[in-house]
């Protein structure tokens, strides 16, 4: 039993330290959006006061833009 566990351990070592076959180029940079996605304005149209709330930005520029 002990021998089997040790064998499994040594067999796994190359898997842990193996280098990736090829380096990923990383996520492609998405082009900057130009048109406002109007579906974001969906919701009840039967209103007379809207309150938009955000908070806890902690230095992230977020909705400033």
């Amino acid at each position: 039993m002990k021998k089997n566990i040790l064998l499994l351990f040594f067999l796994c070592i190359p898997l842990v330290f193996a280098a990736p076959a090829s380096q990923s180029p990383g996520p492609a940079q998405a082009p900057a959006a130009t048109e406002f996605p109007v579906q974001l304005l969906q919701g009840s149209e039967n209103f007379n006061l809207a309150i938009d709330i955000y908070g806890d930005l902690r230095g992230n520029f977020g909705p400033c833009g």
Binding site: F36, L41, S44, N48, A50, G55, D56, F61, G65
Partner: protein, 261 residues
Amino acid sequence: MSYWNAFAKKFPSQTLLRLDGGSIFSRGEAASPVVNRYMIEGTYRSNLDGINMSAWDLPVWQEMGDLAAAGEISKEFLKVPLVSANVTTKLPNFPAFQRYIVKELKVDPKAGKPLRVGITGLLFDPEERISRKDFQVQKPEDAARQIVADLGGKADYIIILTDMALGQAISLAVVVPGIHLLVVAHDYAAATDAQQIGDSLIVGPIHEGQMLSEVRLNIKSGAQRVEIESHNVPLNETVPDDPALGELISKARAEVAKVKK
């Protein structure tokens, strides 16, 4: 900002209030002073209707006040609608803030008179990390009770912005009736549905500006009859920047990159 521009275009006759629950600034990083100079300018240029002074932000507001007094940042940027119902200070350079703001909004033409919306904030500092030498901080529950009483004849709809956790906000809504909207700007990474607890609708925006929480109200006869709908608006890369603020953000990112080199 671009969301608000699009909103105004689609709903030109509806009134929109823009509120910030606080914890705007960055802290504890090498780039924080640079980031915060841009955060204050962006916040100023966002034309908000109310900003809560949170425990996280308070030392940075103090720093901003000192920088403005030294001529390092524009004093104009400190002219923001900062509110707190439970903090007072005698620090000479600390930015001006109000106990509450009352906005008169024409939301229901049939009502004949405007809706008076009272906006205030509650700083939450249970571990007393804020220096009691420089600041007096009243217990949020006591301050909430007092402010609701004070706004009784002055506001039809009361909004409290706070950095307390959701559990504490629920307790506050239970023990202090008369708060119509309670905004919980705690460090939450996931969206939560708005919930009605007694008189109060509790809304928690998602941290780091990933989503905007929007509440749409159909108010009739003062605030006696209110229909409510709320939803979250994801602010991701599909939303284009407002040109002016986008330029400010690019400038900020370039300067932050220099600091991080």
